[in-house]
Amino acid sequence: MRRRAFLRAAAAAPAAAVLGCSSSSDDDRQHGHASISYGMWDQLQVPAMHEVIAAFRKEHPDIDVTIQLTPFSTYWTRLQTSITGGGAADVFWMNGPNIRRFSHYGTLLPISDRLAADGVDLADHPDNLVDLYAYQGEQFGIPKDYDCISLYYNTELFDEAGVPYPDDTWTWETVREACREFRVPSRGQFGISSALDRQRNLYPAIFQNDGWVVDGRESGFADERTIGGLEFWTDLINADLAPNAMATADTTGRSLFLGGKLAMYYGLPNDAVEAYDDEAVRERTDIAVLPQGSSRGNVIHGLANVINARTPFPDAAYEFVKFMATREVGEIQGASGTILPSFAGTESGYVDSKPEFNLRAFIDQIPDCIAYPISMDTNTWENQQYTLLGDAWIGDPGRSVADASHALASAMNLVLEQEP
């Protein structure tokens, strides 16, 4: 606080007057005209967002919306800097790992009261996703899209190996057996990617083994069931039925799958875009629900639109976020074929955009889903996952995943303890 005051004093005096809200003037506000900015990171979704903004402007001709596109690699650095320094977008994309920290420190505008006053209920969006963006009883964001995990498979390799295509009867055991059929060392061919990828691989397997990741201030990685979920992947690696973490660090599971080196791959809805764009890959790819472990289980995550607490136009920003949660916007987003919109029933646009793929698999699995695990300092312990579990992922059976997981649990507990 003092430092910033000092910085301002050091700056030219007349310039300091425009601090924080350089683009807005009182005149505009009095006449009900507002100009808000919308921060996002995905170039692919820009066209759909232009459509959304055009539709919004039909209802609110007095509100201008401009898009601020920042690539994902710098999005969070930029956001933190601009929130702290003043000058962040009025409405912007938020994800699960970051939501609690941003809401806890008062950087986001709470919207529960406004939603209640408007009689808006968010029942049309997956409820565990809506909950993800609530903190201490207050709603801070509304989901715009969602993703869970499905099994992508290469029909050519299945036909060649004479393995029947995966369906909802598949279990972990079926996967293990199939992987033996697919392994062709001379071609560098494997049955499945077991990459150290929390959202695609680790969490679904943990949840399918009735394990858990975080609960309050406690890590779930010391739990036998959690470790059992991880062992599904490390057993495959240690049996040389899946590439180890060094191989998947060099060539991602997705690239290996697209390149025809993998028969199966746990993928996000978004992964369908690239598979679909390449005609050869499109023809040999299809999608099924995940094989089940001791239970069905999946992880759901999605982005939300949130409002900058320091926006000079809270009303306009709220109107925009509310509008983004409607069926109309869900349909525009779905039709663009880039993501699965979170408004129930509007996914058909996305599903129809790639009729050759069984994209229904994603929608069918919503009931199996557990919300993406988060706490306040999610990023900190997420980092620890990869560095501490990595040891057990390099294909050396001497390094036990149980040890690595226990080490992770203690490191993670330290972080959780210190959370505000």
Binding site: L7, A15, L19, D42, L69, T81, G87, V273
Partner: protein, 295 residues
Amino acid sequence: MTSTTTPASTAAAHPARWRGSARGTWAGSVITHAVLIAGAVVMVFPFVWQVLTAFKTQAEAVAVPVQVFPSRWEWAVFTEIFDVLPFAEQLRTSAIVALVRTVGQVLLCSLAAYAFARLHFRGRELLFALFLSVLMVPGQLLILPQYELMVSFGLLNTIPALILPGLFSAFGTFLLRQFFLTIPAELEEAALIDGASRLRIYWSVMLPLVRPALAALAVITMMNSWNDLLWPLVVNTDPNVMPISAGLTTLQGQFQTNYPALMAGALLASLPMLLVFLVLQRQFVQGIALTGSKG
């Protein structure tokens, strides 16, 4: 040039002998070329890769195993890039930023460097150490306070915000100081006796003598400015005032990157820089021939 520098007469007077000695070692020449060609291949390879990737399809660009050549030479992406990005505006922004930074740095840094190398004043060593300390702070640490400064200057989303931090360089000052230190003191003292002012000596005597260093600094500054990434992305969100380096990164998605468009855009963006280099490199080639009274 003033009377204190002797024109490049000595070097020009003996070109034959230099050539003669080089031709004398034919084997040496072959080895020289072999080393230089091998080195050139290593240096140029990624650029060639960039060119090849620009012509590929997205699938070919990320193929496993790697596909070296595109199956069809596709030019469409070079026009597509103009639809995806405000390419011309961004190129213009990059050019303005690079030009102002380069001219500014060369002028300001050479002034300071000359003072550090040649003038004596109280606290010189300490001030120089202070300059150097700027280089020792990781740039990532300064992002937030510098951003706050730009906010308080009211410069967010403007071209001056892109230019400002890069206008002042401890690196450039240090580099030029080293070169000024190599100039024989006699040249300057002669001019002082002639009654020339310090500013005049700096401008007419010393600057011409360190021309190769000025060219080197210009090249380095211009390239750094052209490739600058994090800073423009932090202070700028308006695509129309974004430099091309930052504009191109918006093609990199969270899960996938449009590599052909990225490479094609980068290729187009690099052409002006290549031209600049071809012009500036004559400054290196000419070199400096001075015959000081020492030696």
